[in-house]
């Protein structure tokens, strides 16, 4: 579980470090708070981490989900909160994650975001990072690749997904009010999704090197 705590810390650090960048992306076609919201949430997560002492990964992710729900607000709070809650349910009782479990988790995350936000891919939301990531992950998984390779493929796909959001009109979330004026700008939520995936991938890489 020390690794899990370390991974969460890396996640929190990265989100907080990107507070300004995420906010600036949201400023262009939203309301300039995505980074502030996410940073507030992950500050709270970091604050609870020491005392929480979760028994398994499910417990840790549930703590994150509940903390995000009660501290982030906005659209991203319920979305990421629900996402982590669903991920938690998918790994209940586990203390390590293999590639297969990770795929299940990512699938659960996407299910949570869709249930909560009623969006589909192509609407310029975090789903445009998450869904391609999942597909790339599963493709590698089906070829019998390691968790790290699967994650690397997922992250690369998420990054492309972020790029893709620049080319489309937003039809969900606050950017949708802009109509065509949203074209040319990348989605803040897709960016934070990609960011979290890439942090976890980096973490897995370091960890596999150590091992």
């Amino acid at each position: 579980m020390a690794n899990v705590i370390a991974a969460i810390e890396a996640l929190a650090d990265a989100v907080i470090a990107n507070k300004e960048r995420l906010t600036e992306l949201d400023a262009v076609i939203g309301d300039a708070d995505h980074g502030i919201n996410m940073a507030r949430g992950f500050e709270a997560v970091r604050g609870k981490l020491a005392a929480a002492n979760p028994a398994d990964i499910g417990g840790a992710l549930k703590m994150i989900g509940m903390t995000l729900i009660s501290t982030v607000g906005g659209a991203s709070g319920p979305l990421y909160g629900t996402a982590f809650m669903r991920a938690a349910a998918a790994v209940q009782g586990k203390t390590t994650i293999d590639a297969e479990t990770a795929a299940t988790m990512l699938n659960a995350v996407i299910g949570g975001v869709k249930d909560r936000g009623k969006a589909v891919r192509g609407e310029k939301t975090m789903l445009d990072a998450l869904e391609p990531a999942y597909e790339a992950f599963v493709e590698q998984l089906n070829q019998g690749q390691s968790l790290l390779v699967c994650l690397e493929a997922a992250t690369a796909a998420a990054e492309q997904g972020v790029e893709y959001t620049k080319t489309i009109i937003a039809t969900k979330g606050r950017a949708s009010y802009l109509g065509e004026r949203s074209i040319g700008h990348q989605d803040a939520g897709a960016t934070s999704s990609y960011l979290m995936l890439s942090v976890l991938t980096d973490f897995a890489r370091q960890h596999s090197q150590e091992a």
Partner: protein
């Protein structure tokens, strides 16, 4: 960033403390939460109204807590929908046994957070109903968007549904009248200058010296387009025509009007706008039962204004003109 604050992280907390200290006759704090409720909450035997949203829209929403309007107001971080647990605490604190109406402005975040709160409250056996306000005609209501945004028209929902609740009506009736207001209220705004979210420390957009944003949202979200600043009359005409193009109003129809300042606009300018609005309505033989001029739904220090028109029938009119006693709206 030039603001009279102590700490951007503490500004909502300190504002709430300052509000309770200013208005103890009207509001009290739900301990541990960013929730203000009526000083005598819960009011037994009355449907309770809870509204809320991001902070930065003051006097919305806590300014409307009091007799004849809201029972509770939930304050999120600046321009950020409050979290479900906060809304849930508000619902618990105000429920007097007849249920709670949640007044939600149509933003993805607000809807999701309030819906989660509703589920939590319902799990406790509290009757919950919701109304979603979407009065902003700047945003086209098509299948390609999340629908119109809720802006200053929300204040009319508070006023009228609040007055209805005061009559002892049932939750479904209060919800129905709130939906009637939503069906009959339209707004549109424009901004001359941006505002600065304290935690961000800089403005979320810039406008050139002579440029304005038409159809501006109340969170600094961009509007329909930018253009060169025109005269007050031309601007008012543009906004009012968009509104009138969206709601059927004929001769001898009666309306209520709100010319709402976004926070940084002198009252003088709002009156100049109202002169044109009143003239246009009079020309169409539309009667104005009551006009509200001032800062009702703001965006921090943003300069600009919105126009709201509410089409009245005898029921809506009576409830609009009914007494209210709150920090930001008193009528008798």
């Amino acid at each position: 960033m030039k603001k009279v604050i102590n700490n951007p992280e503490q500004v909502v907390e300190e504002m709430l403390q300052g509000a309770v200290l200013a208005h103890p006759q009207y509001v009290k704090r739900v301990e541990g939460f960013n929730v203000l409720v009526r000083a005598n909450s819960p009011v037994q035997g009355k449907v309770a109204l809870v509204s809320g949203g991001g902070s930065g829209h003051e006097p919305s929403h806590a300014g409307y807590v009091g007799r004849g309007m809201l029972d509770g107001a939930v304050a999120g971080a600046v321009f950020t929908s409050p979290t479900p647990d906060q809304v849930y605490e508000a619902a618990k604190a105000v429920d007097g046994g007849k249920g709670v109406l949640l007044v939600i402005k149509n933003y993805t975040g607000d809807i999701m957070n309030f819906e989660m709160a509703a589920e939590m409250a319902e799990a406790d056996g509290i009757k919950v109903a919701k109304v979603v306000v979407n009065d902003d005609v700047a945003v086209e209501n098509s299948t390609w968007t999340t629908g119109r945004r809720g802006i200053a028209g929300t204040v009319f929902v508070h006023k009228i549904a609040g007055a209805k609740a005061e009559t002892g009506a049932e939750l479904s009736e209060v919800q129905k009248i709130a939906e009637k207001v939503v069906a009959n209220v339209r707004s549109m705004g424009m901004a001359l200058s941006p505002c600065i979210v304290p935690a961000a420390g800089k403005s979320s957009f810039t406008l050139a010296e002579n440029e304005v944003e038409i159809g501006m949202g109340i969170h600094g979200e961009p509007g329909t387009h930018r253009e060169a600043l025109r005269s007050a009359d031309e601007t008012a005409e543009h906004l009012l025509n968009k509104i009138l193009g969206d709601i059927a109003l004929g001769a001898d129809d009666e309306v209520a009007v709100m010319v709402n300042g976004l926070g940084g606009t002198p009252l003088m300018e709002l009156y100049v706008v109202n002169r044109k609005v009143a003239a246009m309505l009079a020309e169409k033989n539309i009667k104005t039962a009551k006009t509200y001029i001032g800062n009702y739904m703001t965006s921090l220090e943003m300069a600009g204004f919105s126009i709201t028109v509410l089409k009245l029938d005898s029921e809506l009119k009576e409830l609009l003109l009914a007494p209210a006693d709150t920090p930001a709206m008193v009528q008798f």
